[in-house]
Symmetry: D2
Subunit: 126 residues, 4 copies
């Protein structure tokens, strides 16, 4: 099974390819430090500079958030929840870390398969 | 199948019952007005004045967000993502409304079943 | 939130209404007796005499199986997994009962909302 | 993110390792030929010669079935649905193929992460 991984699009020349990679990629937005046992917000947003459609036959249907080998949460979306217009799907997960996090997000496009974010390391201290 | 619905706990006398109802209930936090075709944040938080455990055999395993008859999104959680300590599980969904919303959230506790929030009406204008 | 419940369609006159109710309803097919601690198959099938489309903007996107207040399992489907032709979506869940079951299935149509099956009681003995 | 892949356990010497690999691996059981546009059963079973626990803090919480880059279905399980005893979790998905299938199953253990089956090729003919 193919897992598409994020590539730095500034290194890519062809506009269509930049768009394709960027609009499918999951980006993790969070602080790089967290307090042990306290609520910590992790935003996962699909796409950075480009937008993905929300068409019935072509949309992002789920996002998973992992830390290391453990899946923390999965959000499933129904087509149309993004208004059937192109945009950047996002969700905020709130977790309570007890140790350092090694976050990875995956997202599934109903037409273009599975995409994996870069890793985000979070140092967790008392 | 029983759907537990939120009751105003200020009307309830017994402390244990207040706690039981409050800690399981889904609360929707969002603006009461939204702009058509623009991103709109909906926070769903479980419990208001009381906290729910995150034990392996007793935790909130999912939250669904509905508008009328349409489910917009569902977030599933793995036990331990809330640090195995009591707290108020929450998630922010971002949707793009095209018409008025009639939001309802449901949550599932692995020990105490299905709980439904009050309805939150959102007026959507250009 | 409206939960549509199965009605005996033989009591319904209008063909379109028979079709609408039948094709959305979840039917539980299983034995009425099970052995404690042994694997037990529960088939959930959507529709009995009528078929439901599998169109991008109109399909059955999930089925949940409950016993009393406990959700046992949920199956999510991607549009197109049913070949984009009308049919009767189904799934076999295998569970291991330790006590009597009071099974209920729910299904979600992306266009016509939530539907709930009749209850299926299963006596569980050593 | 680590994806554990099935290894032929007959090549492995250490009993604990055989058990660990086998009991987590997803096995796809289905015919190798299917008819285009007709219902086709795909059984996914976790473990072949060894069994996995169904403990609150250690169980298989979901199975995904993919064909190539498309996820067809995902089944989520609540702890306890397998009776809290060791066993071989399974589910039958029914799909309607329109072209050849390249099936892969993934399963997630709440303690030992993500596991991927071998590929099962299915020839689909009229």
């Amino acid at each position: 099974m193919k897992i598409n991984k994020y590539e730095n699009i500034s290194q890519i020349e062809r506009e269509a390819k930049k768009d394709f990679i960027d609009r499918h990629s999951a980006f993790i937005h969070c602080e790089s430090n967290a307090k042990k046992g306290e609520k910590f917000k992790v935003n996962v947003k699909i796409g950075d500079q480009y937008q993905h459609p929300d068409d019935p036959d072509h949309f992002i249907s789920w996002i998973q958030l992992w830390s290391g080998e453990k899946m923390l949460a999965q959000a499933n979306f129904t087509e149309g929840a993004q208004g059937n217009i192109p945009g950047n799907l996002e969700v905020d997960f709130y977790i309570i870390p007890q140790k350092n996090l090694k976050l990875i997000a995956q997202s599934f496009c109903t037409k273009h398969g599975l995409w994996q974010s870069d890793e985000a390391m979070v140092e967790v201290k008392l």
